[in-house]
Amino acid sequence: MQAGGGGFFQRMQDYLKRFEPNLVNFMMLSFLLFIIGVAGVLSRRNIIIIFMSIELILNAVNINLIAFSRYLQANELVLRQRGIMVNPIAGPVFTIFIIVVAAAEAAVGLGIVISLFRNRETIAVDEIDLLKW
């Protein structure tokens, strides 16, 4: 389009095009979710909420994997012309394995929480200090 041409809406549209999300925006979302999860793990006392924060961290990783998979899918031809072989379907497959491991981790972890609560009558992490000296 020629410079100076177009009305207000055209210029508005051109300006807004700058904010269209690409891979970097998805990585920023993933990073911020990761930070929130890390903050939850480090700061909360309730062990169940610490487990929930771990789920948030794993979801951040999943967003990253899916976004990269989509990026590779969109640019597969270009990358192949440059001699880079890509496998875009590896992202979703890896994400499914992460979900499986997260489910197993949650089951075992919550079993430990129940056992812990039965023995110590608390789920606050700073009161569980039997191995501390």
């Binding site: 999300p21 979302l29 890390v38 006392r45 899918q73 979703p92 997260a102 489910a103 075992v108 789920i123």
Partner: protein, 195 residues
């Protein structure tokens, strides 16, 4: 990969909702509220997966996380409910809150330092090949117009052809986790029952 039009708006809405719900998860006083906010965050993440045209993973996310893991979380919250946190005098946080700020800042600086040189690299294939992006957009609108997405088919064949061994190992892992969770959670009363 660049989202256009309503997809771009939807991305910002979903990302904002996900982050807000994440903050609510780690700052809610009552654990059940935390779990409900986490369900909302997970549904938002599933919608972001749909936005990225990974419909199968979005379905798995809803089924496994919202349907399975979160029900487990809610059960355990109700089993170990101490009712102590609902009173305002109980501390919610450990004494590490300042360390959390420091670590978050360090991670943020590391992210910015890593992204600044990488940003141009990630955008270049899109910019140098406008034909590719328009072709990609064409297939995308073709899918949205009523064609069936091939994502599920691709993921299924990749799972059974290229990742068959990890798939079987994952099933064994789930079995071991199930047995381990039952072993850990049973009490002395149940142990006596079988003797």
């Amino acid at each position: 990969m660049q989202l256009h039009g309503w997809e771009a708006v939807l991305f910002y809405v979903l990302a904002f909702m996900t982050l807000i719900m994440g903050v609510f998860v780690i700052s809610a006083r009552i654990a059940v509220h935390s779990a409900l906010f986490l369900i909302s965050a997970l549904v938002n993440v599933a919608l972001i997966f749909i936005l990225l045209r990974a419909e199968f993973v979005a379905g798995v996310q809803i089924l496994v996380y919202v349907g399975g893991v979160m029900v487990l979380f809610l059960f355990v919250i109700m089993l170990v409910q101490t009712r102590a946190e609902e009173e305002s005098r109980v501390r919610l946080y450990t004494g590490q809150t300042k360390a959390v700020y420091v670590i978050a800042m360090l991670l943020a600086f590391a992210f910015i330092a890593a992204m600044r040189p990488a940003q141009s690299g990630f955008q270049s294939p899109d910019a140098t090949a406008p034909t590719q992006t328009s072709a990609d957009r064409g297939t995308a609108t073709g899918q949205g117009a009523g064609g069936v997405s091939e994502d599920t088919q691709k993921v299924g064949s990749a799972l059974y052809r290229e990742a068959a061994l990890p798939f079987e190992i994952a099933s064994v892992l789930l079995l071991v986790a199930m047995v381990g969770a039952v072993m850990l959670a049973r009490g002395s009363k149940q142990e006596k029952l079988y003797e």
